[in-house]
Symmetry: C2
Subunit: 182 residues, 2 copies
Amino acid sequence: MLGRRKTKRGIAMHDTRGAQGFGGEALLYLTDEQLRQGIEAMFFAYRGFTADPDRILADQGYGRAHHRAVHFIGRAPGTTVNNLLAILGVTKQSLNRVLRTLIENGLVESRVGTSDKRERHLFLTDRGANLESQLSDAQRARMRAAYREAGPEAVGGFRRVLEAMMDIEMRRAYGKLKEGQQ
Amino acid sequence: MLGRRKTKRGIAMHDTRGAQGFGGEALLYLTDEQLRQGIEAMFFAYRGFTADPDRILADQGYGRAHHRAVHFIGRAPGTTVNNLLAILGVTKQSLNRVLRTLIENGLVESRVGTSDKRERHLFLTDRGANLESQLSDAQRARMRAAYREAGPEAVGGFRRVLEAMMDIEMRRAYGKLKEGQQ
DNA sequence: TTGGAATGTCAACAAGGCTGACATATGCTG
DNA sequence: CAGCATATGTCAGCCTTGTTGACATTCCAA
């Protein structure tokens, strides 16, 4: 179906096969099947990736949207709404709904900008930081376990593929966050 | 904030640092910051991962839920509803809504089981296979590009970390799909 | 002083999760 | 055969989180 079988080679395949090509360029012999497995791995892994935070959030009546906001505010304290909008890639109405509940519930503080008073700078309160660290702890624990299980050499490859999979604009946003933290 | 800085080391860090530990076990020195970057990479990469299919789907009035159904039906033709339910991890009501529109629109065919007539076996029609290959082509193209950019050594690590990040049940489902295709 | 940017908010809508309840076949087992 | 379990479908209603469109406010900058 869909030509998958057509692209299979008649020999035993390993998960990945790399080979040095001609002009010094690294070539990958990637069958459709290998790519499909990568796609499915991404799908299932993302579910695992969000599973722990989802449970914590559900207990407290929040959702993933709240997690994302809390995460990036914790990551870049003082960030503006517009900034957050760009990173999250949602509409301001959508973000605002989430932000409003977080502010009402005392997890996030919104301070009027000092230089430009139109801007709002967002900060986690102690309660917000508390939730953030619960979520982060769970997610980091899973990530750490996965890294350990996959082995030291795997981590670099993992990160490189993920970075290459991002849209260009997101790669910039991601890079900025990385730099901001060291 | 949140103790991130506390865990930083005072020396230059590379993206990953592995070391052979004592009892022969590979140890990873992973700072919170490194783990956080992995988390964010996962977040941004998943966006990229779904971006191309999302555009194609939106054009035709479908969503990600339809994509998932079409993908796994194409992947395991003749699969039962219950089977699909387990893989997708949603309720039957949720799946049914999606499946119903796909059947109505002639993308999926539902055949009564031969041995057990309670079961329905699901297949893509030509139109369904057509959409599936559009979506798959786009997603594989991105995956292939990411693999190429990351280099041959990166691919194995990528896959190993993803597999380790899955929940155990999903790892089994994933394994079955892999085996089913070779 | 005026246009545009940043923000907030209201309303309405859609997708896609969920729960609960119930119906219909069909299979299996005592 | 009777009765329970299983597989599926469906209705209704709810929630979160995305969308668009419209509009108000505040404030910067030319």
